[in-house]
Structures are given as structure tokens and as C-alpha cells.
Assembly symmetry: C2
């Protein structure tokens, strides 16, 4: 069957993928390796590449190629690939190249300065760069909204979680807000009875790194197709063929780095196991950021905080950090499930984490819609931290509104994905337990293969073949159902 237009589009996407490869590696390097004086040149280089990729994604021929390909006789997967090509085309063509380049430059500059400004608690310095990032992000949101009829915030959210709308987020988060504070109180009362032994540091960076690498092996990471390095904000980057994970170390506590590494391993395995035959094409990409977070949280929370999992982790911890009473499996699991409202989102436990996300969602949405300005962020942050978690963050920008890299690099509309991911992850494990009633016994016996096999088959290998509700329905028999998350928290923390 001759499909000239589709074939031409296919080749153009391969080209975008190859050039994007260099962009991804240079971005990883910027966070993991680059010395400070390299930043200006790197920012200019990445802006140039961002502009070039945008230019290639908006070439005038693409519109008619997409129309012609729609009339060609395509197989189901090719048609799905074409659907995703169209979605990418609409997102790219809403924005002029000048805006794409200006955003790339402003984001790089803000993110780079943020590294030192956060250490120095320098909100006044940060806000100068952030204002420009937000201004450009609003401009982007307006253009995206014009083309889709969505609100400005929904237009951004749709970039990360296609099909998701703030009305549904409001509904789901509204429900969460109604029972979460009470649940946190109940869990804290229950846990007040427990005895927990704290690990005694310091823990050297070298020992923690060796432990993290062993944990990645336990979770099935392919070290022939990726690596672990350090950066000030952990992330999973690189390309599916060569996944670049990062973590950071604190000498006084090994758990944030260890669990962060397990989290990123979930992202990494999703990327490493996307359908090989579709790499370089939109169909070969991860479905959405919420789905991505559902993988990292399946690893970090569903598995990582599972009582049986601590039995697998305990010998690794002892091997690298020495024997301590705190590393005994029961105690390790109590440490990993300890619910304790804190300042830092990425260090938060599974129960208070959604509160951090709700807070950010309730700030970034009005920020994009122009209802508040960047100067309003600290006061709103302080008020909501007090309301949701009872914590006083006044004047503490470092551990408050400057803790995340997201807004500073223009990633606005992303935060809801974390909690949507937690909900999806709970839904996956509920599905696995229905199909495999002995799942928990198998995890306890050290057999994680059933989990990885299910995720590979139902999520990883599917790439972007189906739209999210369809993927979720095929995997679990229903679309997003937040009841699984509530049931999971109640069972694990009050059961």
C-alpha cells in the first residue's frame, strides 16, 4: 500500500527525534556536569536548537501532509501515530518561533540562577527572572488557548496530560481535600503509638550511591542503556535508548536519595521499555506525564512503601551502610510510611504529598490566568501550607516556594500530574491484585517480576497508541477512579 504523505511525515519525525536526542543529552549535562561559566553558551545553544526544532515542526508543508496522510490507507498503529503527529503539530503551530526561543532562553537563565538563589534564600533575585518566565508562559497559554477554545490553564495542562481539564482536576482534588486532612490526623494519631528507630548518620555519598545503584538493579533498571548521576534537582532525562537519571545526597539521611532514586527508576524503566519499533515516532513516546508519574509512584510508593518490600531493601541498606537496628525490615517500613507534614514536596510521604500538589495547583492556575502575580506567591504559599499541613513557611523561601525547579523553567500546569499519577498507580495495583490474588505474597518472596511484567505489557509497551482514558480502560477495566487511591491509603495506613 502506498502511503507517500505518511512516509514523509514518518521520516520528518525521525529527524526531529535525532536532533532532540542532542538537546536532551545537553540538557541533562547542563544539570549534571556543566561548570558555571558554560551556562551562557549552553543556554544560547539550547535556544538555537529549540528554535530549530520548532521551525522543523512548523514547516508549511506539514499541514497538507497531515491532511493527505489522513486520506491514505493506514494500519491501526499508523493511524494512531498520525493522530499523535497531529496533536504535536497543533501544539507547535500555536506558537511563533520567537516565543519558543525567548522561552528557552528565559527558562535556562532562571533555572541556572535559581540553583544559587535557592541556597541563598534569595526570593528577591529569583522573582526578577521568574516574572519573565511567567510572562512568556502566559503568552504561550493565550496562544494555545486561542487555537483550542480551552482556558489558558487548561491549554497548558493539556500539554502534559492530554484530555485532562481543570474542571476534572477540581472535582478530583476537591474530593481529596474533603477527606485528606482528617486522614492525615487519624494516621498521625495511630502512628503516635508506634516506636520508630531513626537511622544514625552520617552516610557517605559513595556508600549511598552504591546503595542507590543496587536498588536500581533490584528494580530492573538496564545499566547498559542508562546511568545515574547527581544534580541539584533529581530528574529522569536523556533518551529512551540512553536514560539519564539523577539524584542528590544528604549525608545526614539516606532515605530521600534512596527513595528518590527508586522513584526515578520508575520513570527510567517506562522510557527504556517503550515500544522499540516505534522509537522516534510520536506513538513511541510515553503517554502523558500523569502516566509517567504513575510509573515512578508505582515504584516509589506502591512497591517502595509496601511492608514486604522493606524485606528486600533491608539487606541492601545493611550491605552498604552497615548494620543498624533502624534497618530491620519492620522498622524500615515504619520509616518509609511515617506520615509527617514537612516543607519539601519531593521528600513528602505518600499521605501528605497530595496536599503539596493541591497547594501548587491552587497557585499556578490563577497565576497563569492572570488572577495573581508572582509577587503574590509567597503569601499564598504561607497561607496554604498553614491551612493544609499546619506549617509556618514565612520568610523560608528556600524550603517554600523556591524549592521546586518547575515554575522557574516554565513548567506550569504540570503539578496535578503527580497526584493523578498516584491515583493511577493505586488503580494499577488494585487491578493486579484482582488478577493475581497472591501478588503480595510474591512481592514478599522477592518476586517483583509479576509487577514489572504487568506494567510492561499494559503501560510501557503501549506507548501513545491509545488516548489516556482508553489506555486506562484497557489496562484496568475502567477510566480514572480516585476511589482506589483512597482505599489504598486507608488500607495501608489505617488497616
Amino acid at each position: 500500500m502506498s502511503t507517500p504523505a505518511y512516509t514523509e511525515l514518518f521520516q520528518r519525525h525521525q529527524r526531529l527525534h535525532r536532533l532532540g536526542h542532542l538537546q536532551s543529552i545537553a540538557q541533562w549535562d547542563q544539570s549534571a556536569n556543566m561548570p558555571p561559566k558554560g551556562n551562557e553558551a549552553r543556554s544560547l545553544a539550547l535556544a538555537e536548537m529549540g528554535g530549530l526544532l520548532h521551525q522543523l515542526a512548523t514547516e508549511p508543508q506539514l499541514k497538507s501532509l497531515l491532511e493527505q496522510a489522513a486520506a491514505e490507507n493506514l494500519e491501526a498503529d499508523q493511524r494512531a501515530n498520525l493522530r499523535e503527529m497531529g496533536r504535536a503539530w497543533r501544539a507547535s503551530n500555536a506558537l511563533p518561533q520567537s516565543l519558543v526561543e525567548a522561552k528557552s532562553l528565559a527558562n535556562s537563565r532562571c533555572e541556572h540562577a535559581w540553583r544559587a538563589q535557592r541556597q541563598a534564600n534569595d526570593w528577591a533575585g529569583y522573582v526578577e527572572n521568574l516574572r519573565e518566565v511567567v510572562r512568556l508562559t502566559r503568552e504561550e497559554a493565550t496562544l494555545l488557548a486561542d487555537g483550542t477554545g480551552l482556558s489558558r490553564y487548561d491549554a497548558l495542562l493539556d500539554l502534559y496530560e492530554p484530555g485532562m481539564r481543570s474542571a476534572e482536576v477540581d472535582r478530583v482534588f476537591g474530593d481529596l481535600r474533603s477527606w485528606l486532612p482528617a486522614l492525615i490526623r487519624q494516621v498521625r494519631e495511630k502512628q503516635a503509638q508506634e516506636t520508630v528507630i531513626r537511622p544514625v548518620g552520617p552516610f557517605t555519598q559513595a556508600a549511598q550511591k552504591a546503595l542507590g545503584l543496587d536498588a536500581m538493579r533490584l528494580m530492573g533498571f538496564d545499566f547498559e542503556a542508562g546511568r545515574l548521576d547527581e544534580s541539584s534537582h533529581p530528574f529522569c532525562g536523556g533518551v529512551p535508548e540512553d536514560v539519564r537519571m539523577t539524584t542528590r545526597y544528604r549525608e545526614d539521611d539516606f532515605l530521600p536519595s534512596l527513595m528518590g532514586t527508586i522513584h526515578e527508576t520508575g520513570h527510567g524503566r517506562y522510557e527504556q521499555n517503550l515500544p522499540r519499533e516505534w522509537l522516534g515516532q510520536p506513538l513511541g513516546q510515553a503517554r502523558s506525564m500523569g502516566l509517567h508519574e504513575s510509573q515512578s509512584l508505582s515504584f516509589e510508593m506502591q512497591l517502595g512503601s509496601h511492608p514486604a518490600f522493606a524485606r528486600l531493601l533491608s539487606p541492601l541498606v545493611s550491605r552498604h551502610l552497615g548494620e543498624q537496628p533502624a534497618f530491620e525490615p519492620g522498622n524500615l517500613n515504619r520509616l518509609l510510611t511515617r506520615v509527617n507534614p514537612g516543607f519539601i514536596r519531593v521528600d513528602a510521604d505518600e499521605v501528605t504529598y497530595p496536599a503539596h500538589v493541591i497547594l501548587r495547583y491552587e497557585i499556578e492556575r490563577p497565576l497563569v490566568e492572570g488572577e495573581i502575580e508572582v509577587e503574590d506567591i509567597p503569601a499564598l504559599w504561607d497561607a496554604k501550607m498553614m491551612e493544609l499541613l499546619g506549617l509556618d513557611t514565612r520568610g523560608n523561601y528556600k524550603d517554600g516556594c523556591m524549592q521546586d525547579v518547575h515554575w522557574g523553567c516554565g513548567l506550569i500546569g504540570y503539578f496535578p500530574c503527580y497526584t493523578l499519577g498516584a491515583m493511577y498507580a493505586a488503580q494499577w495495583f488494585a487491578t493486579m491484585r484482582r488478577a493475581m490474588p497472591d501478588l503480595d505474597a510474591r512481592i514478599a518472596a522477592g518476586d517483583l517480576a509479576p509487577v514489572f511484567d504487568w506494567l510492561r505489557e499494559n503501560i510501557w509497551l503501549q506507548g501513545s497508541r491509545y488516548e489516556t482514558p482508553e489506555l486506562v480502560r484497557r489496562a484496568s477495566g475502567e477510566t480514572l477512579n480516585p476511589a482506589h487511591f483512597k482505599a489504598h491509603l486507608q488500607s495501608r495506613y489505617l488497616g
Copy 2:
């Protein structure tokens, strides 16, 4: 003064520089970080970028822009920049894009496979890839020669050492060949009387790395604009704003890594000190590969093997590797000036090194000219190693013709630059001593600033402002004069 054509060319070169930045970092990463399964995708990505850069460098408008700019009213530096733009344009436009892409792909594949093949002494496997690299390099040489009237080999040599011809290399190397074997014999007889204490290993990689970093500090490397990592073949890559040096470690001997690091630091400082206001333009680039090697050899040989320099190095060695009789300055200098014919070029002493280069030159020239084939290399290698250094390399491909990365990644016509560089370096130090009769006393007192200041002023900050003979004349009062190298070796080794 309005210079529209020059301004347009200027901007196009900025763009090439920015995209080339991503290419350089990805190439460094390929050698220093990349896991094996990433190689296929990386090779495709680099080939795509190579093709794109070639496309941008051969856009049809460039020819008339260059012609128009030649008629514009330019300042002296702008005119020099335009001259270098024209040189780059002629080199790029001699080659079709398909050849550039095929070369990039073949080189990446050959270089990647070489890493394991060298370890396994697998000549039969290597030659399969090398044949294709040589085939494409001959094709390149033929096209370059057609455009310039040069021989095929001269056309390649001109890429690395503009203006240099094999007739002059023959003359200079012919002279060298006439006195080098006798000099080696005399030095070895003299050194047979000396007592040299060998260092006692093992030396951990961590201690060697710390020592190497301290040596880089001693040599003035700017760690805010570069870093040191590891790769199987040491090199200096990255970009002038962010120099990426690599080394490799042997636990039984620390000197190869230490002196290799000092060598690469010479390359690194040249790059870090190119004229900032011209970065991104041809004028802002290092003058030639021979000039580049003259910097690395000024650091490694002229300074590194200087009797007074051992007094600066000795305390660093003891600090990181512990106290040993071998680390005493006099003994350290005897170790660093020990003349001993060996298999490995990069580990060779200053006196036998030119023999390694002559050997390679005498093989690569007929190879490119089609007078021999890749299958002929091992026998020629064996014969010349016996003739020039009295060593038997039969069957030992690993330490013989497979030791260098150059040919495998298409770098043919480069080797003469090493010995031209050694000659230039001797000429720089002869010039410095004429201007500063107390130079050796200042080095002995730990004051290296006069050397670095002279190199910065006369070489680094000049970039590509002058053609090589003019640069050399301005720096030293005469063009290339190999008598300085002979005098240097006689004075240091027989004086």
C-alpha cells in the same frame, strides 16, 4: 559603515557555533559517559547533526555573500575573519552532504566497536569497519584535492594544518630521521649510567584523579569553565566556554595519566583563552592542530619534563600518593626524561615520540593515496617499529596499529601535527629565553606566569587572526625552524 553581507555571514557562523556546541558536548559524552546500548541512537543523532551543519555551511547564498562581503569596507580583524570563513566554506563545499553523513556514521560505528576490539586484540573485526572509514576518507580526499589542485594526502593535511604540504613534512621529517636514531642511542648510553628509582604502586584511581586535578590547578586550568573526566582515549573536547578534558588511569603507574592530564591542560587553556569577543566566529578558533599540539607539548614536555618543574610536581605527588624515594624531584625528573623505546605513542618520551609519528605518517600517506590497503597496515607497522625503535610488534595489534583512535574515526592526515607541534613548542621556549634570560630560574622558583603570559599573548589570544607562518613569525621572529627542536633535545638529554 554598512556591511550587510559580512553581518549576515557573521550571524550564520554564530548559529553554526551554537549548534556545533551541542554536537561537541554529545561527542564528549559519547566517550566519557554513554552506556553501550546508547551508541546506535547517538551515532544517528550525530550523523543527523553533521548533515545539518554541512547543509547550513553549503547553503547556496553563501557563495555570493562571501563575494559581496569581500567588497565591503571591513576592518582588519573582520577581513581576517572573512578569510577564515572562505577557507571553511571551500572545505565544506567540496563535499556532498551524503558523504558527510556516511562518514559521521562510519566513524562513530568504527570508534565505538574499536573500544572493545582493541581490548580483545581483534584486528580482523576492526579492519572490517576501518576499511569503510578509509574508503570514505579517500573519497573525501579526492573531492578536496579536485577543488584545490593538491594531492589527496595534502588535501587532508590542509584541513588540520592549513598551508602545510607533505613536501615540507618530508623535508622536516627527513632531517629528523637522519639524526634521531643516533640521538636515541646516545641518550640511552648516557642514561644507562643513571640510577632511577621506580615508583611502587598500586595507585588508586581516586588518588590519581585528585593529583591530576591539582596538577591542572598548577597549570592554571579554569575549573569554572571546564572539567576532567575519564575515557578510553584521552582527549580535550567540549567548547571554549566549557572545556571537557579526559584521561584514563592505570593502577600500576600514575605517570601516564598525570602527564597526559598536563598535556590535555595545554589544549584546554588554549581553548579557554581564545579571544572571547570572537568566540563563535572562525577568527575565534584555534589556529591549527599543529599549533594546538604546540600548546599541549609546551605544557607536557617543555614545562613538564623541565628539571625545575619536577620540584613543583614532587610535593603534589607526595600529597596524594604518599612519600616515596621515587618522588624526590631529581628522581622524578629522571623518570620523566627517561628515554625508552616503547609500543605506545601517547606514553612515549619526548625523544622517541617523533619516531611514532614518522611511522604513522609513512603509513597514512600511501594509504590515502591508494598505494597500500588497510590489510597492509600490520606488516608495515611491524617493519617500521623494528626499523625506527627496534621493537617487535608482530601479532600485538592492541599495542600496535590498533592503539590510536585516529584512523578509526577518520582522522587521517593529523599525525604530523604532533611533531610539528613539538617543533613549534621548542621554538616558543627558545623565543621566551631570548626575551627572559632568567626564565629557567623563575620556573625553578615556581613562577610559571611568564610562560603562560607569553603563550596567552602570542598564541591563545591571536586565535586565527593570522595564517600560521605569519603567527609564528610575529611570535618568534621567524617561521618554522626545526633547529630549535634539535637544540632542545640535545641540550636537555645530552647537555
